[in-house]
Symmetry: D2
Subunit: 140 residues, 4 copies
């Protein structure tokens, strides 16, 4: 169990008022929670600059399922790398297009390499990678 | 069936050589495919500036599943909005943390609002939203 | 003069240690200063989503000065809009290319429109827009 | 003088129509110019992932000029690094705040390090870094 520490932060009253109004709109229950989230996001985006940092990623692809090679290639790619392709989720968008979300886990550099391979496939129309740095304490 | 048109593009030889080398590294089979992807990404990021544009999004959340309110709130949130929460995928990361990927569909502005509500929940440590604009011709 | 308020924030010890090490690397003298910066950045990026928010922007353009129309068009554009084009800075990069930084001030939506016009000019090779939201209390 | 090459690109008619309408809105005179810009931006953002790539950057800082140490520190920092601090531009925003745009040139990794040092100074309220990769052929 991680111990909690309480620190003091000084802010201009006007800055604090603006922040309180933003976080109320976002649905935060407390300032502490909102500031913790800012701190965690800052640390996570810093980690992701390091190609060796441990991360999970959701790779989202929109592809035409009539491009019949795509599903097979997706499966091959998921099995041919030193990454964990933990899971994937398939959504039917319309008569032509599917959305596939593939969750990958491993070092940032390797995730980006695999994701590029997925995004550049013929038939894949759009794609994006969402990386989240894992807590160094998280066992991979 | 969409008709294909062929256009001509003039580029400096050195620019073209640099582009060819990048897309080979990324795994593209042809320049046409790589340029189509650039065009589609540009159009998609333009669409996403419009709060009313139709999109799908993968919202990724890392949360502590001991924060017992989170799973219930996730389910409530998914059912309480005028968005389609199409599907979700749950991955066990370690003894404490889970990754939840929630696929939402609807207008960009509404997706962002729901995603903010998810990210600001107590117990949610990190989160990111991946929006992909849908082709206007895609039936929602 | 703005009054300063002191608030308390609770964080896990391990999260705090990671944050302390990042901000020391970045050169911060105190946690308060680092957290104030996170809060200000968050508020600024939120403001910039509002097309009517007041902002300053540095538009950076790399262009070939042999494309002789560019300097003239830059001057025309700076004078033809309802924006303040406060100032600009010109840097000679090599025999062909110049960097021009143009500081614009006005509503976010209008800045983006003018910047697009600059970036799409023939001869402009690369460009980026850096928007900074102005404090609502700043008199324009 | 760089030789120009003409390549052919196949696109769906509907995709092309959408692209034509976007680039007309942005002010492009030709498709070739718009596609060249996409290609250059893609290559530039790829380059910027490499800490050793040669770049220019505009670092924008909003700071309170009553925080009297800032101007002096800005000057020291500009002279104390192995980067070229080519030029800077100062804009008076209101009674309290100034905008300083500092143009730096050198390897991406070093620019980011200096910029972090600038952004973390006490009195600096907001800041952003705009990196533009230089053509490898550009002599530094």
């Amino acid at each position: 169990m991680d111990k909690v520490e309480r620190i003091g932060v000084s802010l201009d009253k006007s800055l604090l008022a603006e922040f309180d109004s933003l976080i109320a709109k976002q649905g935060y229950e407390s300032r502490s929670e909102a500031i913790r989230d800012l701190v965690r996001q800052r640390l996570s985006s810093e980690s992701l600059l390091n190609a060796k940092a441990n991360a999970v990623a959701a790779v989202c692809l929109v592809y035409d399922h009539h491009a019949t090679m795509v599903p097979q290639k997706l499966i091959d790619l998921q099995h041919s790398h030193l990454l964990q392709a933990i899971s994937s989720l398939h959504v039917h968008l319309d008569r032509h297009d599917c959305l596939e979300v593939i969750v990958l886990r491993g070092p940032v550099g390797r995730i980006n390499k695999v994701a590029e391979g997925l995004l550049s496939m013929k038939g894949v129309k759009l794609g994006k990678i969402n990386l989240v740095a894992l807590d160094p304490s998280t066992k991979s």
